[in-house]
Structures are given as structure tokens and as C-alpha cells.
Symmetry: C2
Subunit: 315 residues, 2 copies
């Protein structure tokens, strides 16, 4: 008999709620607009209503648990704390608030850690004990699995490889530091690289030159690269080169079986992955040679966040 759980992905704009079967099939989804709520109690009450609706509409009488992924979700406390992109200020005790409406096990985590759980439970890491996941998006997140368990650290905030410093005194990062991986290999970092390179290549008059800087996206750069745009190719060569070093560095820490890559920029495909793999092999410490696979996440794009959140209940 199948069992079911709920995955909730809290974003700044929308909150997605999914009913997930134990084989990783997302049966149905609902969403509510996060940014329309200013009272956390009403917000939690409303997404719990949606959970009940999802269960009724799909004739599901019981769920194993509710997993919630939020940008600053803390696994140990079950709270979100001072989320910069949410209207709810201070410490919000999501775990206990949710349980007061639906009394099942509730697990809260940050989104990159949830993604790693998703890969472990429903994705390409099912048979693995040691892997690292990098999620490339507006920022760079990561989740680290050691001995089949997520590395959470003292405070629950471990696995922030997007803020490991890759280039000392490099690009200014939103976190206050300089040279973090995120400033180079996120979608935003890719655009920064493209704009920098355009400034240094006055002779370039390709497709990207016609885009207003503030409208440039990493997807545009990726598409241009696929069509052979020389600047876009250089952008991904640099991005891949730096991502390869970051992945090789991560390996020295936990000696994983694989590194999984997830997110928009990864869709650029070989134009990113070829230089990333080449740089990874070049920079991987010889002790680990031929022991680590670079893999693309096997989570389906649209449901990855919900699956990751639902996977938290299986941890």
C-alpha cells in the first residue's frame, strides 16, 4: 500500500504545497501567495487548509508527515528566523504552528538541504551514503550528505558552500564577504561575468550586446552560448572553470561518491558542464581521482522543491 506525505516550498512570492506518494510521484499541488500575508498565524492556517483540501480531493485519509522547505528554515528548531524575503519578521515557529492544525510529524529545513534530501529519497542519490548537492539559482545553495545523513552542524545551518570564498578579495557578495562561490556561479554571477566580459570586449556585437544590462538573464547567456555566441561561451568557460575548483574543494572535505548539480544555469548543458568537468578533473586532489561522479540532479524541475520538502519527512 502506498503512503503519502506533504511537501511545502515556501518562496518569497508563492508557497507551493504538494501531495507526494512514497514513490516520489506528486499527486496534486496547490499554492498560496506568500507575499500577500502579513500575519504568520493566518498564513499557516491557510496552507494547512490547502493540505486538508489536497487530502480530501485525492481521497487520502492519512499522511506520514509534512516537510517544509524555507530559505532560512532551521532543522533543529523548526523555525524560520528573520527571513529577509518574507513579510513575517522575527522568529516564526513553523513546526509547532503547523502541528497545531495538523498533528503529524513536521520537519523544517532550508531549501538547499531539502533539495539534497530530495535527491537522497526520490532522486539519483537513492543508493548513496556520501554526496554533495549544489543548487545554482539566484544564489548558490548546497546540501551535504555524509553516511546517509544530512550535515547540519551545531546550529542547523551547515552546508553553505555558496558562501565558501573561492577568490579571496574577489567579487562583493550579498553576504558581506568577497569572492564567495555564489558571486561567480549563481545565475546572477553568470550575468555579472557576461557584463564584465562585454565591457572588456568592445569588438563584441553579438546578441547579448542588445540586451539592457538589467534585463540580462543567465538563460539568455546560456541560449546564446548554445548558438555559438563567442562571448557567452567564454562566460560559461569561466563559470565552469570556477565551479570545477569549488567542486574539487568540496571533495577534499567529505570524499563523496558524487556531486549533484541542480538549477537553472545547469540547463545550459554541456556549454557549462564540459568546462566544469574538465576543471574538476584538473583540480581534484589525486587522492580522490576517479572516485567522484559529477551528476545532474534527477529531480524533475517543476516538482523538485516539493519533493525535497516531502523528503524531509523520510529523514
Amino acid at each position: 500500500m502506498n503512503t503519502y506525505s506533504i511537501g511545502i516550498d515556501i518562496g518569497g512570492t508563492n508557497t507551493d504545497i504538494g501531495l507526494v506518494r512514497d514513490d516520489g510521484h506528486v499527486m496534486a499541488k496547490k499554492n498560496i501567495p506568500t507575499n500577500k500575508y502579513f500575519d504568520a498565524d493566518i498564513y499557516v492556517s491557510d496552507f494547512c487548509e490547502q493540505i486538508k483540501l489536497l487530502m480530501q480531493e485525492n481521497n487520502i485519509e492519512a499522511i506520514d508527515g509534512i516537510g517544509i522547505a524555507a530559505p532560512v528554515g532551521n532543522y533543529y528548531t523548526g523555525c524560520i528566523e528573520n527571513a529577509s524575503n518574507l513579510n513575517f519578521k522575527g522568529v516564526i515557529d513553523l513546526l509547532r504552528m503547523t502541528k497545531s492544525y495538523i498533528d503529524v510529524p513536521v520537519v523544517v529545513s532550508n531549501d538547499a538541504n531539502a533539495a539534497a534530501y530530495g535527491e537522497l529519497v526520490y532522486g539519483g542519490a537513492k543508493d548513496m551514503k556520501h554526496f554533495i548537492m549544489f543548487t545554482l539559482g539566484t544564489g548558490v545553495g548546497s546540501g551535504v550528505v555524509v553516511d546517509g545523513k544530512l550535515v547540519l552542524g551545531k546550529t542547523g545551518g551547515a552546508g553553505e558552500l555558496g558562501h565558501a570564498i573561492l577568490i579571496p578579495e574577489g567579487r562583493q557578495c550579498g553576504c558581506g564577504n568577497k569572492g564567495c562561490l555564489e558571486t561567480y556561479c549563481s545565475a546572477t554571477g553568470i550575468c555579472r561575468t557576461a557584463l564584465e566580459m562585454m565591457e572588456n570586449m568592445p569588438e563584441y556585437d553579438g546578441a547579448l550586446r542588445k540586451v539592457a544590462p538589467e534585463e540580462l538573464t543567465s538563460k539568455m547567456v546560456g541560449d546564446a552560448a548554445k548558438y555559438g555566441d563567442p562571448l557567452a561561451i567564454k562566460v560559461f568557460e569561466k563559470t565552469g572553470y570556477l565551479l570545477g575548483i569549488a567542486m574539487a574543494n568540496a571533495v577534499t572535505f567529505s570524499g563523496p561518491e558524487a556531486i549533484f548539480l541542480f538549477g537553472g544555469p545547469v540547463k545550459a548543458g554541456d556549454v557549462l558542464l564540459e568546462p566544469a568537468r574538465k576543471s574538476f578533473e584538473e583540480h581534484l586532489c589525486f587522492i580522490f581521482k576517479d572516485t567522484v561522479d559529477i551528476r545532474i540532479s534527477e529531480l524533475p524541475d517543476n516538482d523538485a522543491a516539493i519533493l525535497g520538502a516531502a523528503a524531509l519527512t523520510k529523514a
Copy 2:
């Protein structure tokens, strides 16, 4: 009643064998000259003889186990493999060879991982679940403890933070890569920095100028710094600055309670530790602010390796 175990520290020149009481007191030690042996069987037979002698001389009838720390010791296989600094070539099955002479539990690991175990069992990390140890010597080793267990990874070789790349395209490292932490923050790296700085400071005519480059040691640089030598102080400022970044990067991975520093260069004291702590605080990602202590290893210098090896039997 006290219990006892044996710690063996295999170095390229000497092999130290210690009888360790469960409270971390090293009761007695023996040693044999590693580099005088060319046959691994005779070597293992001889150190096992020394273990029996240690037990007889101290009236110990039973030991809990034997822990062996070797530069390339593999925890999973119990072997040392192609050790570049030993006369024994190929794969040496230390675990089974030792057990054939003394049938107690035998554990093999690399030296930095053993040091981390030593800190966990006998040192300053007794009450900790998450910490990272950096051992600064000829190279830089490290051991990572997560949830009270050493991170070993797929092959048993995890925790090689000395070979995380700190400065892309930086100094040539013996491992083949460029810019590894080890090339800057090991004893050797400190000497390289001193020689580089002397070349760029022709006006400097302090104590270190009088030393032949091949005879310079990090201890000399440390001593000079303590006496206010301006070049030596600059050397440690740079070393501490880079060590601080490396420690901040390590925190993003596992969010530990503490980072422990061990080894010769650490004895330089505040001249290294002050800039290291300052740089660490500056570069630590805000998520982890005020959650991580920088600590000096509490293992006694002379017995640290034996204690680390003995601690392996308690893992």
C-alpha cells in the same frame, strides 16, 4: 578499573609505540626505526614484539585494541597504500598482519584523522559533536568530526582540507595542484612566504637574512616574530590571514562548534593566532557568526600522535 590500549605512530624515520591508559595517560613508549626496515612482515613482527614488551614491563595483561596512524592509512581497508615516505611499496595490509601477531581489534587511519580522534577522546573536543582539526606541519592535514563521528567519505580519505585550493593558480603544491592551503599555511609554506618577502624587501637586514634559504625553518620565523622582527611579523600576518579564510570556508561545510589547531607553526602563538582569528571573524559567513571557537589542540605535543592513534580504538 583502568583499561589500556596501544597507539602506534608510523613516521618515515621512526615508529613510536605507546601504552595508553583510558584517561589519556601515556604509561610508557618504545620506538623502532621505520627506515631501517625493507620487509613489512619483519617490521610488523618487530613492533608487535615491542607491544608485548610494553605490556610485560608495565604488568598489563590485556589491551582493548591497537590504533595505528600512518600517513596514508586507510580506515576502511586497514592498509597503507603506496606510501611515498616508506620503504614498503604497494599495498600493506597492516590490520591483518598486526592481528596475526596480537589478536585484538586493530584500527588504521591517516595521521590527521587520528589527531582529530585524539582530540575527541583525550583532548579539548571531549564534549563536542562537530569540530574540525587542522594539523600544521610539513604539510597541512585535517580531520572532520560530524555528529561525533569522523568523516571518512567513500574511500576513507576524506578530510584533506590541506589540499583545498585557497588561491586559484597560486603556489605549486606537491600534490600537483596550485594554490592549496598547504602551500601557504604549513611550516614549509611559512618558509616560502618568508623567502618571497625577503626577496621583495631588499632593505630588510634582520636575523632571517643571515640564514641560508635551505636552512630556514618556520620555528626560526616564529622566534624572530616574537622578538619583533618586522619581516617575520608580516609573514605570520599573511599566514594567519589565509588560515582565517580557510577556516571560515571549512565552517560553511559542517558548521562546527570549534576549529582546533595543532602543530609546530601554532607554537608561534599570538603572532599567528591573532591575525588568524581576525581574518576568521572577517571572513566567517554571517550565518555562523559567534557560533565557532578557534582553539589550540589540548593534546600534549610529545604524545599527540600516540594518543591520536590510541583514540582510534575508541571510535
